[in-house]
Amino acid sequence: MTVAGPPGIGKSRLAGEFIASLEGQATVLAGRCLAYGEGTTYQALLDIARCIGSRFTMAKLVNFEPSPP
């Protein structure tokens, strides 16, 4: 689902409120694109990856071994 609207109308706030209302019901991964700066094309994806990283620390990801079937 996409929330679209002119700048300043409150898209981020709406997303924030929605996520706050989901407290404990869902895993939320969030990323943001900056309106300025260079070399930030994949910023949003990077943010999302970071959200995962905070839940399962990088060490766990590195040491992850699939359990035998």
């Binding site: 929330v3 409150g10 981020s12 706030r13 924030g16 409120e17 300025y36 700066g37 260079e38 910023q43």
Partner: protein, 470 residues
């Protein structure tokens, strides 16, 4: 002597008094002939320009209008032979040097320009003033809506602006900056895209001791260019801003050479493109940027061992996209976002600091965020100055072993990701939590129940579909 004026409403005079050329059509005819002075104009061209497409009706009218204009010109010329001649294929208005104000203007402008080029600013200023005094209003004022007049009006107005820029340049070189501020402010407001005028206003303000206003003008012009046209200011304007920030001596030269177009010889050349063909991040060698600074001090006494520690630290900082610009005694200073902003430089600095602490025992670390001014030298070396650098150094100095201290600005930027001791800025906890923009602020959220309900309905639908085996 007959004189003609087109720098304003079109006028014909006998040298002392105005002579009426006749009605609007007569005036337009005179203007058309003046714009094409000393060149033959065909009767067809006259017809097209002044009467439009109705040749059958108006064929005779051209001859009548020409005859009436001849009379007016004879009155103005005091009985001398008429300058309006019938030539093969049409008519020609012979204009002698000094009779037409536009020609006088262009001659004076030329004088002024060459005087300025030869370094005679006072003479240039005088010539250009004379040139500009010939203007009485918008060029060909009564003919602004005529198609044929537009190109000439544009050309004359362009020359007028050029003359004004030149005159201001000459005045600046004469050290008259105090008188120019008001005039330049009005000109810049009217012509925001003329970067030379903007440069002159910045230089003038700077010389009047108003450097902050000079920099404001730059920012305004920059945002205008970027908003309206998606452009960056030209190299001249950027260089001037950098020299104002650096308080370059070249800006103060008032009475001798060294106006806004003069460039100091010692200015660093544009840096060469990098090896991988990417354009240089800093084409002119100066930049002002928000960066995160990391300072580290090690409690290692042996200098060689210290160097080893710093080598390892540098590797970690570089992994996080930072650069280490210098070692200073037993301190190391790293920057994030120096060459170009990463958008998350505060976070990078904090991550690097946490990793440094884990990798090396006994490090004392300080990080801060702030604006720095960066100069890139001819060989690519950078010098950065700014309060954030010494602030980070002082924080590292205050930190105990294995401790990270955050400055006030970086602590605020990382409010969502870190927990910081409120009293001394010591880092207590660090981890990428929910990004700051998604944490609901404390102010109440009013009147958006419908969109929130829609989002919930959609979420429920998605969940139901998943449960049904989608």
């Amino acid at each position: 002597m007959v004189t003609y004026a087109i720098l304003g409403p079109v006028e014909l005079s006998d040298g002392e008094r105005l002579v009426s050329a006749g009605g609007p059509r007569q005036v337009a005819l005179l203007a058309f002939l003046l714009v094409h002075a000393n060149r033959a104009v065909s009767a067809d061209a006259l017809l097209d320009a002044l009467w439009g497409e109705q040749p059958a009706v108006v064929g005779k009218r051209v001859q009548m209008a020409i005859a009436r204009l001849r009379k007016a010109l004879e009155t103005a010329g005091g009985g001398a032979t008429s300058p309006l001649r019938t030539v093969a294929g049409g008519y020609l208005l012979a204009v002698q040097p000094g009779e037409l104000d536009a020609q006088l203007f262009e001659a004076r402008l030329q004088d002024g320009r060459s005087a300025l080029e030869h370094g005679d600013a006072p003479r240039a200023a005088a010539s250009l003033r004379e040139a500009l005094e010939l203007w009485r209003g918008p060029a060909l004022a009564d003919l602004g809506y005529e198609d044929w007049a537009r190109a000439e009006i544009r050309r004359l107005e362009e020359l007028r602006l050029a003359a004004i820029e030149c005159r201001i340049e000459a005045d600046l070189q004469c050290g008259r900056h105090a008188e120019l501020v008001a005039e330049l402010q009005a000109l810049v407001a009217a012509h925001p895209a003329r970067e030379q005028l903007t440069e002159q206003l910045m230089l003038t303000l700077y010389r009047c001791g108003r450097q902050s206003e000079a920099l404001e003008v730059y920012q305004r012009t920059r945002s205008h260019l970027s908003y309206e046209l998606g452009l960056e200011p030209g190299p001249g304007l950027k260089a001037l801003q950098a020299r104002i920030l650096a308080h370059s001596d070249a800006l103060q030269r008032g009475d001798d050479e060294g106006g806004s177009s003069a460039r100091p010889a010692d200015e660093p050349a544009a840096s060469a493109p990098t090896a991988n063909g990417e354009p240089p991040a800093q084409p002119r060698g100066y930049a002002r940027r928000l960066v995160a600074v990391l300072a580290a001090r090690a409690n290692v006494t042996d200098p060689e061992a210290l160097h080893g520690v710093f080598d390892r630290c540098t590797a970690i900082i570089e992994q996080h996209g930072g650069t280490v610009e210098r070692y200073l005694g037993d301190a190391l200073v790293g920057f994030f976002g120096l060459a170009r902003s990463n958008g998350d430089d505060a976070l990078r600095a904090a991550s690097a600091a946490v990793e440094l602490r884990a990798a090396t025992t006994g490090l004392r670390l300080g990080i801060e965020l702030g604006e720095v001014f960066i100069e890139t030298g001819a060989r690519g070396e950078t010098i950065a100055v700014g309060a954030a650098i010494s602030a980070a150094g002082a924080l590292a100095e205050r930190a105990a072993a294995d401790e990270i201290m955050l400055g006030a600005d970086i602590a605020q930027a990382l409010a969502g990701e870190t927990r910081v001791d409120e009293k001394d800025g010591r880092l207590l906890e660090f981890g990428a939590d929910t990004p700051a923009f998604l944490r609901a602020p404390q102010t109440p959220f009013i009147g958006r129940t419908r969109p929130i309900a829609d989002l919930h309905a959609e979420l429920d639908r998605v969940c139901a579909q998943r449960a049904a085996g989608w």
